[in-house]
């Protein structure tokens, strides 16, 4: 349902339709790079949509900006850095907010390391459990069900 809401907002922001044919560059290699960059940049006014998918006017502007910068000969990383951090005295930049992939430094490292840490913890814990079970009770112990049945048999 929220996805629909997102779309409502996005569609209301501008009637365009994601990447338009007239935006695309003649050079297919350069265009492919532009698409790759735009899938990593978030539309500033939408929710969780990249500028590649978004219909908002500002996304269209950003897509055109990306292509202009590529034509100037910037590398992919330079284009992204320019749009995120801007250029002193010229353009303020949109900030790390528009990066779909948060930069891997500072507090964000927690985000990236959380999963591997949990995995190691989980595996360690799992191994501890297995070791305990391996040495526990012994295979002869009956389950509750089996015990109940045994009692029944003994009684009859």
């Amino acid at each position: 349902m929220m996805r629909a809401l997102i779309l409502v907002l996005a569609l209301l922001a501008g009637p365009a339709f994601a990447v338009q044919p007239d935006e695309m560059l003649k050079d297919p290699a350069l265009e492919a790079r532009a698409r790759e960059i735009s899938s990593q940049l978030r539309c500033p006014v939408c929710l969780n949509e990249s500028i590649d998918d978004s219909n908002a006017t500002v996304s269209r502007d950003l897509r055109l900006r990306v292509r202009d910068l590529l034509k100037e000969g910037l590398t992919n990383q330079q284009v992204i850095d320019y749009l995120v951090y801007g250029k002193p005295g010229e353009f303020a930049g949109f900030g790390e907010f528009i990066l779909m992939d948060p930069p891997k430094r500072g507090a964000n490292l927690i985000l990236w390391l959380a999963a591997p840490t949990m995995l190691i913890l989980g595996l360690g814990l799992g191994y501890a459990v297995i070791r305990r079970r391996r040495n526990a009770a012994g295979p002869e112990a009956l389950s509750t069900d089996e015990e109940a049945r045994l009692q029944e048999i003994l009684r009859s």
Binding site: M1, M2, R3, A4, L5, I6, L7, V8, L11, L12, P15, A16, F17, A18, V19, Q20, P21, D22, M24, R42, L47, N48, S50, D53, G95, E96, F97, I98, L99, M100, D101, P102, A107, N108, L111, W112, A114, A115, M118, L119, G122, L123, G126, V129, I130, R131, R133, R134, N135, A136, A137, G138, P139, A141, L142, S143, T144, D145, A148, E152
Partner: protein, 658 residues
């Protein structure tokens, strides 16, 4: 008038739930049979009352009663009947009432079909279930009442978001809610078991069908949502790692883990406290999902701050229920004595590894979904976590899961032998790797994702088949077939569900690796090539639908000069909502989908057209359906229908689950 009755019935239901929450719990504690027995009629009464209440609201939508605020905000007299009905739950208040209805259905199902449960356990389960009900009755009545009237009814309603006016999405929320709320049953069983301090094989056999049913509904609900996004949003994506999608995906992952660990409790009486913890967490994630969707907190922290009432109430519910259950778990969990011993290489260990991978995968989704919120509140930084993170952090776990699945699922209980497993799995592994390598050699300039997906998918599917074939034993084909037919349905369910996972893995990898995209301006009469197809746009016509205007294109699709299809992608405009939608035209095939969407008319004439060739994309949903089917097969197993002890206590026809 009838809506007032519905409102009143809801209040009565609230009172009934309070009784059901308190009386049976005290009765079970004191051992008073009569007090415990209150739970059954109370649960069925709740179903009748909430059912009536829901029916009156539906009636208001069907008859377009615009004196009701909710109907005005979400319906319109011109809307097709299906969407008038779907409109009942297409909004906050109505969807909460649906939540409650499903909760009462599950409660009543336990009361009616749980005849073989020991009386104290049944009383406690229904009491815990009622306490969840009380919370949601209160939430609906005090913060989100669907029955509010307007003093000055308008002539017509404001309509419903046209994107939601789609058969796929009409039934998406009910399925998800059946899943979310179904997990409340596992939660109630877990809390009741903690109160009693007893978790044994019988308990696992009672919990499993509810979890399985919830998981099946979640699987179908998620697949429906993904399919809807695929054909409706105009660029053929099937998963977006959107917070709302993640909200339904986390309970699904945990429920899958719970299903597997409950098997260990049932067969071997190990992993008891872990299983109870998973049951609590699964419902915790369901509540978290409800919180995320209903509070709008992830839309923006500010949106939440502007109208925090609903969000805070759900957050408090989440803290009370999950915090309370976890406290209880901390106090009682360690006392749950494990029994069966098992070695490092055993089915138990395999299932434990499955649980670790699924739980950590759910944790990845959890951290990624909530990180932006945490960063903004705690660190004062505004940032986004999008698909690149999830793809990178989540995929390895699914790959590892697919890799160990066939091996683990065929190990013997207690003590298995890898060498014996590999005797039959070895050739399959070699075959899968060889096919992957062949695909890698044939494709040029694509990522390794496709071949890896092919190899993993093949490995999982053939592994599941191999498991079945081995279960058929040795000897003549006819004997083996006879034995296969006599296998418990649960074994078939397991093979089908596992194969389904393999099919989905393959579909996802194939479409991500090999899809082709074409975006261009097309004039009427113009022909262009995409992949092996030649597509001609014959023209674009303006037509009128029941409540929309559409521009419908006629696209003739040829292959090798032969006309194979005429597709009609549309761009619709809904005047009531003042909103356009795209209706992609899709030629679905087992091997590939041809997907055409049209956009706006361009300034220089012609139309923006997006064309995709998506290989094997339907396999994604076919796999999901297989998983659900496997669940259904498993659910219909005799062992679960005639649950623990029932045969001995001669209660024929006792059915623990739907």
């Amino acid at each position: 008038m009838i809506t007032e009755l519905g409102h009143f019935a809801l209040i009565l239901g609230f009172a009934t739930a309070i009784v059901q929450m308190v009386v049976p719990m005290v009765g079970a504690h004191k051992g008073w049979r009569g007090w415990m027995a209150i739970a059954d009629p109370a649960a069925t009464t709740q179903l009748i009352l909430v059912g009536f209440s829901f029916a009156t609201l539906t009636w208001a939508f069907v008859t377009s009663d615009f004196s009701l605020r909710l109907v005005v905000m979400n319906s319109h007299s011109l809307k097709p009947m299906l969407y008038k009905i779907a409109g009942v739950w297409g909004n906050h208040e109505g969807s909460m009432l649906l939540w409650l209805l499903i909760l009462s259905i599950f409660g009543a199902a336990v009361a009616l079909f749980g005849g073989n449960l020991p009386a104290p356990l049944k009383a406690r389960v229904l009491a815990v279930q009622a306490s969840i009900g009380v919370a949601f009755y209160g939430f609906i009545l005090f913060t989100s009442n669907p029955f509010l009237r307007l003093a000055m009814p308008p002539m017509d309603g404001q309509g419903m978001n046209p994107l939601l006016q789609d058969p796929g999405l009409a039934f998406h929320p009910p399925f998800l809610y059946l899943g979310y709320v179904g997990l409340s049953m596992s939660f109630s069983f877990a809390v009741a078991a903690l109160i009693e301090g007893r978790v044994d094989a019988a308990w696992a056999r009672w919990v499993r069908p509810w979890t399985l049913a919830a998981w099946i509904f979640l699987t179908i609900g998620i697949a429906m949502g993904s399919w809807w996004a695929y054909y409706e949003l105009g660029w053929g994506g099937f998963w977006f790692w959107d917070p709302v999608e993640n909200a339904s995906f986390m309970p699904w992952l945990i429920a899958a883990a719970l299903l597997h660990s409950a098997v260990v409790v049932e067969k071997r009486e190990s992993l008891k406290s872990w299983t109870v913890l998973l049951a609590i967490l699964a419902f915790g994630f369901s509540l978290l999902g409800t919180f995320i969707v209903r509070s709008g907190v992830l839309t923006s922290v500010h949106a939440f701050a502007n109208d925090p009432k609903r969000g805070i109430v759900i957050l408090v519910l989440l803290l009370v229920f999950i915090g309370g259950a976890l406290t209880l778990f901390a106090a009682r969990g360690p006392a749950l004595e494990a029994r069966g011993a098992f070695g490092l290489v055993s089915r138990e260990s395999g299932l434990l590894l499955n649980n670790i991978l699924l739980a950590v995968a759910a944790f990845v989704v959890f951290v990624g979904t909530l990180w932006p919120l945490f960063a903004e509140v705690a660190l004062g930084k505004v940032l986004s976590v999008g698909p690149p993170f999830f793809n990178a952090a989540f995929t390895p776990f699914m790959m590892a899961l697919a890799l160990v699945l066939p091996v683990g699922s065929m190990l013997a209980w207690k003590r298995g032998s890898l060498a014996r497993n590999m005797r039959s799995l070895g050739p399959i592994m070699i075959l899968a790797i060889a096919v992957g390598a062949l695909v890698f050699a044939m494709q040029t300039g694509h990522s390794a994702l496709g071949p890896v997906g092919v190899a993993l998918g093949l490995w999982v599917v053939l592994g599941a088949l191999d498991d079945l074939i081995l279960r058929g034993g040795r000897g003549r084909i006819a004997d083996r077939l006879k034995r296969l037919r006599r296998l418990p349905r649960a074994d078939w369910g397991k093979a089908v569900a596992h194969a389904g996972l393999g099919v989905t893995v393959f579909g996802v990898a194939a479409v991500l690796a090999w899809q082709t995209e074409d975006i261009r301006t097309v004039h009427a009469g113009e022909t262009y090539d995409v992949g092996a197809y030649q597509i001609t746009m014959e023209g674009v016509n303006r037509k009128n639908g029941p409540n929309y205007i559409t521009n419908m294109a006629d696209m003739t699709v040829r292959r090798d000069g032969q006309v194979i299809d005429v597709l009609h992608p549309e761009k619709r405009f809904y005047p009531v909502a003042n909103m356009p939608t795209t209706e992609a035209a899709i030629r679905t095939g087992a091997l590939r989908d041809l997907y055409i969407a049209i956009g706006d008319e361009q300034q220089g004439g012609g139309w923006a057209v997006r064309t995709y060739v998506k290989p094997f994309v339907v396999w994604i949903w076919a796999g999901a359906l297989l998983m659900a089917l496997g669940g259904v097969l498993s659910l219909s197993d005799r062992r679960l229908r005639v649950a623990a002890g029932a045969a001995r206590r001669t209660t024929p026809g006792a059915v623990p689950a739907e």
